[in-house]
Amino acid sequence: MGLNPYAPKPARIVRIRDETPDTKTFTLSPNCFEGFTPGQFAMLTVYGVGEAPFSICSSPLNKDCLQFSIRRMGRVTRMIHEARVGDEVGVRGPYGRGWPVDRMKGRDILIVGGGIGLAPLRSLVLHLLEGRENYGEIAVCYGARTPSLLMYRDELGEWAGRGVKLYLTVDVGEEGWEGSVGVVTTILGKPELDKADAIVCTCGPPVMIRFVLRRLVELGYSKENIYASLESRMRCGIGKCGHCHFGGKHVCLDGPVFQYREMTSLPKGISPF
């Protein structure tokens, strides 16, 4: 019998960091992947409870551990949130098609995130920062509903210090918030990039992705260079179970990162248009 693709490998939770009131970042060790592309995902198992897909949010250059930012949502995520340092979970992957890192050399890069959608983009940012000199301008436009729902708040400043232009916004301000207020589309015009050539990567709630794509085209970004990461229910991650099959595409194999034109041919519902 060939390798069993449904059996995860065990890994220990070595660190848990609170990101927002309902989201934690879990650091798992060992890193059982030989390598991965930013934007790829893994299936995480809470033994005896269930399994679900999550974006890898750590850098591919981190060979020791894998990180996942997980929002408390359903049965599996609730149980992960109850886990403690030292607990064992199962990991399999990496799966899917990640961000088009091969197309990014020498170009400006715009990263647009909403809420927990920054998770797969964090992996990309960390990857880009490891070779900062290889790229043009790197801008991150990131929005959340409130300041306390912004992910990776401790790290964002560090990104800015290492050559990332950072634009933050929140839907609703809180006391002490001096940044912009408004949805993320309102700050998309701020970065001054080579729009015809820049690669754009976005992830967030479906409604955000829809309006971001529309605004990006209005601003003059090229459809050829716009990518979004979509989400779907999945059971296998390897194109067999049928759950993420939409209009001839499997989110687990052909995505989760899709190019703008690929998204226009997806059926309504999964398509952000």
Binding site: M1, E51, G90, C236, K240, G242, G247, G248
Partner: protein
């Protein structure tokens, strides 16, 4: 082509039964079901088709895919598949295995559970003798004489069976009992030719389809038909569970006898739970969309990806649907 007379067939069956697990149609309560037989006489070969397809021998309704003991850290990955001969599969159901092969064995991640079962089961098909009213295998060239996933095709003719080995495994099964077979004579082949013409003529289904039109189904269908059908649908999922081709699965994790267990089992895209995420978001929220998905998957996306249709025309969903949803209507209008 070989000929096996009635007596030779009985002897072959007895030889098989004494050497290997033989699964064949058995009449129970007025239906025919595949069961393991202990002697040749239990098999009934006088049936139109079994109530359920032989899918479960390759994709069990539920199977354990791993067990993990947290104390001993032992990982148990059960092997599928006892060696068996599956006898009397109709060509349509045998053709469904060909579609399983395309999807489930596709690299780089073939399903090892399916693979081991597929390797350990020799499939002997039996050409149809009397197609039912709802049969339309001819539309997809999945019968009524020959299918595309079997190791041996048997066709009943006067005095015995014509035998066609369709794979190496089928060939070796024939070679083991070579003395029972003889070369088919001209009279056998003539009868085979007549039978082929007669059966094809008797098929009720006269639907003409074009692959080129069907692969564009997603773009061309108007939702009127689907709206009507979807309104009647009670989401019982019989269509998926009795379909020889439906392979989509769900997984379930639980703790049992000191071990964490994962099973996988049949699932259905008719259910609203099929695509709904924990957040409550559901990319395929309406029943009409689920209907479109089911038919487009079978008739358009599988042919686009694998060059064979995702329906073999067995007619089970047509005859079993409690509210009369009929895939042939889709074929007639958009095929």
């Amino acid at each position: 082509m070989l000929f096996l007379d009635e007596d030779g067939f009985k002897r072959l069956l007895e030889q098989l039964v004494s050497n290997i697990r033989v699964i064949a149609p058995v009449e129970t309560d007025g239906y025919f079901e595949f069961k393991t037989i202990k002697h040749g006489g239990e098999a009934s070969l006088d049936y139109s088709n079994t109530r359920l397809p032989p899918k479960r021998f390759f994709l069990p309704q539920r199977e354990v895919v791993f067990k993990h003991d947290p104390k001993t850290r032992a990982l148990h990955e059960p092997m599928g598949g006892l060696e068996a001969v599956l006898l009397g599969v109709r060509p349509c159901d045998a053709s469904a295995l060909n579609i399983f092969d395309s999807v489930l064995l596709k690299p780089p991640n073939p399903d090892p559970f399916y693979e081991s079962r597929r390797r350990s089961i020799t499939v002997v098909s039996l050409s149809c003798a009397k197609p039912r009213e709802e049969c339309f295998c001819n539309v997809f060239e999945a019968g009524p004489i020959r299918g595309s996933g079997e190791d041996i095709t048997l066709t009943r003719i006067t005095g015995g069976f014509l035998v066609e080995a369709r794979s190496r495994r089928g060939q070796s099964l024939v070679e083991v009992s070579a003395s029972l077979f003889e070369e088919a004579g001209p009279e056998h082949l003539e009868e085979y030719g007549e039978l082929t013409c007669r059966l094809t003529r008797e098929m009720n289904s006269r639907i003409e389809i074009s692959r080129e039109r069907l692969v564009r189904l997603e773009a061309t269908l108007d939702e009127g038909f689907f709206q009507q059908a979807a309104q009647r649908c009670v989401e019982c999922s019989l269509c998926s569970f009795t379909c020889p081709v439906c392979y989509c699965f769900d997984t379930e994790d639980y703790f049992e006898k000191n071990a964490y267990v994962r099973t996988k089992g049949w699932d259905t895209c008719a259910s609203t739970l099929f695509t709904r995420m924990a957040s409550g978001l559901d990319p395929r929220v309406s029943r009409v969309d689920r209907f479109c998905h089911r038919f487009c998957h079978k008739l358009s996306r599988i042919p686009m990806a694998f060059n064979s249709f995702g329906c073999v025309g067995c007619g089970r969903c047509v005859s079993l649907c409690p509210v009369g949803v009929d895939i042939r209507e889709v074929l007639k209008r958009w095929g």
